[in-house]
């Protein structure tokens, strides 16, 4: 669940490693169901 799916699919498309630099927020991942934490309030501003 910590994989950046955009990196995976873009790398597959280009046949070369692509890393956009964005990372999954690991603090929101739980060890048990439902595995993801509470939904984010919108809007999210980096």
């Amino acid at each position: 669940m910590t994989d950046n799916v955009e990196n995976v699919m873009l790398s597959l498309q280009a046949n070369t490693p692509v890393d956009q630099g964005a990372a999954v927020d690991r603090t929101n991942i739980l060890d048990e169901f439902p595995y993801f934490g509470a939904p984010h309030a919108a809007p999210i501003v980096d």
Partner: protein
């Protein structure tokens, strides 16, 4: 009550006991749809099995609509050439393979039908960047 009001829904998690799936050696291929329902004639508006198929592999809006209203059983005859063409075009631009068409066919064979595979024995995974090189 709308639990999702003012929220971004980025994941919907459903947990099913593996024993309920059946043959542990079998591969289950999952996919979901989103449909208009209730206030209009019911119509499938979107489907999902693998991520970003209509974002990076199918770029023509008309073909995206066609894909979203179709079933995975139609993937190979209706969309494999579109995806193969996109793959060949990008790898040619990236100059990342000597044979863009052959690479495209290998990727299409791995992605199609565009459903999420799950196997009790072989845990679900897409293609990591490391294994991608081996394609």
């Amino acid at each position: 009550m709308n639990y999702f009001q003012n929220r971004n829904v980025t994941a919907i998690v459903m947990e099913v006991p593996t024993q309920s799936i059946g043959d542990p050696a079998a591969t289950v291929r999952a996919w979901v749809t989103v449909s208009l329902c209730g206030h209009a004639p019911e119509a499938q508006m979107s489907r999902w099995g693998l991520p970003l198929i209509t974002h990076i592999f199918i770029t023509d809006p008309a073909v995206q609509d066609d894909y979203n209203r179709s079933l995975p059983a139609a993937d190979v005859p209706r969309f494999s050439q579109t995806v193969a063409d996109a793959l060949a075009r990008v790898t040619q631009l990236a100059d990342s393979t000597d044979d863009p068409a052959a690479y495209a066919q290998r990727v299409v064979a791995r992605l199609f039908p565009t459903t999420l595979p799950y196997s009790w024995i072989r845990r679900p995974r897409l293609v990591s960047q490391a294994s991608m090189v081996a394609l």
